[in-house]
């Protein structure tokens, strides 16, 4: 399992990156993250919504209510222009952290 501090820190970039692929709703976002991480990145489901609302409040994403194909009402979230900028920034920073870690790891095996 991944440490909860890292889970919390990665929530925003992950949500932004997922929404960059198209609009989605809370439940689907959680399932997608779980599937992509092989179940290792698990959020407490209820915690996702405050994060989504905070991001919406900050103008990174927007939402709309719509009916699903099964007739269930869902709140769909999509990326806004500021969200795209924030996502690019996040990806740049995470890539940097990743490259530093990868470099250090590589040195250990040399």
């Amino acid at each position: 399992m991944i440490r909860k501090e890292l889970v919390a820190a990665s929530a925003e970039p992950l949500i932004l990156s997922l929404l960059a692929r198209g609009e989605s709703y809370g439940y689907a976002i959680i399932q997608e993250v779980k599937a992509r991480s092989g179940g290792k990145l698990q959020w407490t489901d209820g915690m996702l919504y405050p994060v989504l609302h905070r991001m919406e409040h900050r103008g990174l994403i927007k939402s709309r209510w719509a009916e699903s194909e099964t007739g269930r009402k869902r709140k769909y979230y999509s990326l806004k222009k500021d969200g795209k900028t924030a996502m690019a920034k996040h990806q740049e920073q995470w890539s940097l952290v990743h490259s530093v870690l990868a470099g250090l790891k590589k040195e250990q095996y040399v």
């Binding site: 809370g26 439940y27 915690m47 919504y49 405050p50 269930r72 869902r74």
Partner: protein, 231 residues
């Protein structure tokens, strides 16, 4: 027999009790809960087990509410300005209203008249009382809430004390000071009981608000503790 709809209604009640009062988050959470239950149903487990597991995944109501609270805009500056202006205004209004009614009519013992000045004083007291109550509610500062509670207790004390003119006479006179004697002499003709009763009730209003708020707070806390069985 386990009733899924009833259990969801009860879960909603627990969420509301924890303070998730805004309709949008609660609706979203309920939709999420139903989606999770529906997904797990396909695997054929028992309904109650699925419901408990889905509720557990959503998380404890109190914790979710704390996260939602962080999203709400703080308006700290506006709140501070409101407190800086609100407290002196409420204080002066209360001082004027109480001294007018209490010392002019109840304590000194004149027979009150329902004139414009008296009505104005009653209205000023009521407005100030609502003011100090709202200042305590709006403010997130403990000091402001404590001052509000203290003022309310003080007001209730003055109100109850004023209801017993004989007691006042005894207390003021026993002091054997010139002011006490003057007050005691003036008390020879105490105000009628309906007036003293009304004044006591008027001064106890914010205290009653506080008791009501305390009771609601306690019930909410108890419900939230009960709600943990779902989390």
């Amino acid at each position: 027999m386990f009733d899924l709809e009833q259990s969801i209604t009860e879960w909603r009640r627990q969420m509301l009790a924890a303070g998730i009062k805004m309709p949008v988050p609660l609706e979203e959470l309920e939709i999420h809960l139903r989606e999770e239950i529906e997904r797990q149903m396909k695997s054929g487990f028992d309904e109650q087990g699925i419901f408990n597991s889905a509720v557990q995944k959503i998380g404890e109501a109190r914790v979710v509410q704390t996260e939602f609270k962080k999203v709400e805009p703080d308006h700290k500056m506006r709140r501070t300005i409101l407190l800086i202006i609100g407290w002196p205004v409420a204080g002066v209004a209360l001082w004027y209203g109480v001294t007018f009614l209490y010392f002019q009519w109840a304590l000194i013992g004149f027979h009150p008249e329902c004139d414009l000045e008296t009505i104005a004083a009653v209205l000023i007291i009521l407005a100030a009382e609502i003011g100090i109550w709202l200042l305590a509610k709006v403010s997130r500062y403990r000091t402001s809430r404590s001052v509000s509670l203290l003022v309310c207790v003080l007001l209730a004390g003055i109100g109850i004390f004023g209801f017993f003119p004989a007691e006042q006479k005894h207390t003021t006179y026993s002091g054997n000071n010139p002011i006490g004697i003057v007050f005691a002499e003036m008390l020879s003709q105490p105000s009628p009981i309906w007036f003293r009763g009304g004044l006591t009730l008027l001064l106890c209003v914010p205290g009653i608000f506080w008791v009501g708020w305390g009771r609601r707070h306690l019930v909410k806390k108890l419900n939230s503790t009960k709600g943990r069985q779902y989390a």
